[in-house]
């Protein structure tokens, strides 16, 4: 049994009866048991639940069911509510929180017959780019344990990269799927805002948060997205649009594809060796019949500033519910209401979360609202317009996912602004609400490099198709830690 397989391969093997879901689940659980301590990729492992789901899946298959995801294991980022299982968001605040309901994403994948192995580590409340802000400790990069796996979905990325699961759900508010995908050599997709329901996904910045997946290949991502996407009456911001057949779209040849290269993403700050890998990947696309066109995103340099007003502003309100009154962390022996609020929140939240709550509160406060929040919203519109103009000339936009490869643990955690700059290429995509992907595109000094692909609104099928065609022509995505020389 090959635990380094992805979803699509497992699906085929289960269909052929090469092994049962229970056997496969046991194997993954054993792998987690053996390796999780070193990586800290999982916060909670749910063996009993996993085996019960696997047994049910095997029983359904025995009755003749053939759904593609039936009996396939995965892990959920600990930001998705899972009924009866601790859902902590990697925060002390929710360390004791057992969700009484399932997120729509969890419910849909359960219904598809998938097996949940556990809940993965992350930056606290998805705030971070290195997975160092977790209450449960940092996650290590399976390619090099001294390096960060990226964040905030670092646990999901490390778990897939180390074969502690074949795929994992994740979320992306400013790059939290694409950056860990790049750092861990995985395929990661953040769909268009509204493509996947946010019901049951713990909010960080509501207008930017979007669920997606970390997988071994674009084909795997297509299979999962097929089950996850679609309108949800429980999420008013989810898009009421039909979901195309992502798997069927994979096969389309790339001849005539116009690829836009934002000149701002190939400028100062980009590591030369990373750029070399990206240019080589772009040459592959040319060989597949695509043409490269330089485009400009003139306002993209404003994205980080705008993001760090809008996201903290929304977060400051979203995290107000954690007050020690109804659930979650409550300080010991509160003297009065104010003491209850103050101590529960200052003891329950970590430093980065508190920093963003304070920044957001400040940005929304009387006298500053226009200068910060309104201004940031204007920048957001300009950023979106940049993309709209670019997409008049090209079908997809490509560039590096990150300026450099994974950095050492602790190297940026003392300096928030340097850390925020990690998301320089990814954040504008969230502000614009567009779908974005990162796929493996080579290595620099033994660490993976990610190529970012950005598409038009709701054009996930095209992104997956482009990524899949690249993966048919290359083998970067098949490399796993230990096998890469």
């Amino acid at each position: 049994m090959n635990l380094k397989q992805g979803i699509a391969d497992i699906s085929r093997a289960l269909a052929k009866g090469e092994y049962s879901s229970v056997e496969l689940t046991r194997a993954y659980l054993a792998q987690i048991e053996a390796q999780n301590a070193a990586l800290n990729a999982y916060i909670t492992v749910t063996p009993e639940r996993a085996l019960a789901q696997a047994e049910a899946a095997d029983a359904r298959r025995a009755k003749g069911e053939t759904a593609p995801l039936l009996g396939v294991p995965l892990a959920h980022k600990d930001i998705f509510c899972t009924r009866g299982v601790r859902t902590s968001c990697a925060s002390r605040m929710l360390d004791n929180f057992i969700a009484p309901y399932d997120a729509t994403v969890v419910e849909k994948l359960d219904q598809a017959g998938m097996v949940t192995l556990g809940k993965t580590n992350m930056d606290e409340f998805a705030m971070g780019s290195s997975n160092e802000s977790s209450w449960y400790g940092p996650v290590r990069n399976p390619w090099n344990h001294d390096m960060v796996p990226g964040g905030s979905s670092g646990g999901s990325a490390a778990a897939v990269a180390a074969s502690l699961c074949p795929a994992a759900t994740a979320t992306d508010t400013g790059g939290s799927i694409r950056q860990p995908a790049a750092f861990c050599g995985l395929t990661g997709i953040k769909p268009t805002y509204g493509r996947i329901s946010r019901w049951g996904m713990i909010a960080y910045a509501s207008s930017l948060d979007q669920a997606g997946v970390l997988t071994r290949s674009a084909e795997d991502a297509a299979l999962l997205l097929q089950a996850m996407a679609g309108f949800d009456p429980k999420d008013s911001t989810s898009a009421d649009l039909p979901v195309p057949d992502y798997v069927a779209a994979l096969a389309q040849p790339l001849k005539g594809l116009r690829i836009g290269l934002p000149k701002e993403h190939f400028a100062t700050g980009l590591d030369a060796e990373v750029e070399q890998q990206i240019r080589a990947a772009l040459a592959v696309f040319e060989s597949l019949g695509a043409t490269l066109v330089e485009v400009s995103l003139p306002n993209s340099h404003l994205s980080i500033s705008a993001y760090y007003v809008i996201a903290p502003a929304e977060a400051s309100a979203n995290l107000s519910r954690y007050d020690g009154v109804r659930y979650g962390y409550r300080c010991d022996k509160p003297q009065d209401l104010e003491d209850l609020y103050k101590r529960s929140r200052s003891e329950g939240f970590g430093a980065e979360v508190k920093r963003r709550i304070m920044v957001g509160t400040y940005a929304l406060s009387a006298g500053y609202y226009d200068a910060y929040y309104i201004k940031a919203q204007k920048v957001r519109r300009l950023v979106k317009e940049d993309f709209t103009r670019a997409f008049e000339q090209v079908d997809v936009i490509m560039g590096p996912t990150t300026p450099s490869t994974a950095f050492p643990l602790g190297s940026k955690s003392k300096d928030p602004v340097t850390m925020y700059l990690e998301d320089i290429y990814t954040i504008a995509v969230n502000l614009a609400g567009l779908p974005g992907m990162s796929i493996p595109a080579g290595f620099v000094k033994g660490l993976p490099v990610g190529l970012q692909i950005v598409g038009r609104d709701f054009d996930e099928a095209r992104l997956l198709n482009v990524a899949h065609q690249f993966q048919l022509a290359t083998d970067w995505h098949t490399r796993t830690p230990g096998t890469q020389a």
Binding site: F97, W199, S320, L337, L364, Y369
Partner: protein, 478 residues
Amino acid sequence: MAWETVIGLEVHVQLSTKSKLFSGSSTRFGAEPNTQANIYDLALPGTLPVLNAEAVRMAVRFGLAIGAEIGKKSVFDRKNYFYPDLPKGYQTSQLSFPTVGKGSLTITLDDGTTKTIGVTRAHIEEDAGKSLHEEFPDATGIDLNRAGTPLLEIVSEPEIRSAKEAVAYLKKLHSLITYLGISDGDMSQGSMRCDANVSVRKVGDPNFGTRTEIKNINSFRFVEKAILVEAQRQIDLIEDGGKVIQETRLYDADKNETRSMRTKEVANDYRYFPEPDLLPVIIDDAFIEEVRSTLPELPDVKAQRFQSQYGLSAYDANVLAAERATADYFEEVVKGSGDAKLSANWVMVDLQAVLNKNELTIEQSPVSAAALAGLIRRIKDNTISSKIAKTVFEAMVAGEGDADAIIEAKGLKQVTDVGAIEKIIDTVLANNPAQVEQYRAGQEKVFTFFVGQVMKESKGKANPAQVNEILKSKLAGN
């Protein structure tokens, strides 16, 4: 120089939707604490709001009824503050783009004059839960049943100039919302709550004085008293050389005074921003016209019709049209009795007295509209006199049956037989020769004595008109 009071009212009306503004929980009043709070109402992580379309429809109904502009695009905002009965740590409300814009209400004062009061806006928002301080020593109980109940906050222009006008405005609002069926308007259950902004100035002064806000006044009577006492407090303060401070005050009905609330409230910065979990509400003309087509006949129009159709006075028409239930009752009585003026009198005077005495609403009336119409028919066809009718009505209120049954059982049928009346009159005249002499000598006042005697002899059943006629004729010596 005389003082003038300037009042603006903010009225919170609980919309009578079945479920909450953003969740499927029931809005029923009086359930066990926290039995009507689901995971959204508890603000569990990951939950999201879904707007109750019925609440928007109700707000639009109200907007159309006051001739207001309807916001084609209304936006919900988060109003941020910490309080234990506010589970999310923010209230979802509408700040810059309310569903209902500028409109107006016409009020009728006691002297019959009317005045138009501008309505600045009406916005949709969710209610908070309740904090229960008394039942728990050293702790506070939280009941979230009410949290998320839809409210329409109706804000008036500062165009109200007296406590009486304020009450008339509130009564008009109450009339409208119950007519529209968007709220039960029950102030005792908090379905209608009033905050009053009060300031005073010298008559003729173009500038407003510093205002205070009196929070959560829960009856029409208290609104009047609170405004009166607060205005007087401000006048006394200024006349003594003091200054009014802008603050929130509470009205204490027991002591009939207002007093300052914690000034901390004033320092709150609510940090409003658009609610990112909800899309803007887009309302198109087709929707507005569809809602308009379902509006009932509103009180002003109905009062006009009562005047023209039934020949009622403006006063009677306004009183009867003010509440939908009363108007419906009245029209049913008219339909059954065929006499609008008698119906109006019976509903406004006799029935109203019974309802007031027993603290009943007209829906709880012990006498149905059909039964009252039956009684009026018997007055009209001379079966009973108006006076006997009061006796019959009392028996009806006591539950002794319908008018016909009571008249029959008690033998109250009016005597209209000329021979029988003549016989009684003859007896009365025979028994009172002295009075007959006086009358014939020109003392016509004695006539009423004879009438009284005849009625007494007939136990009130003789037809008064016939008694008058025959008596006059006999006394004239015919």
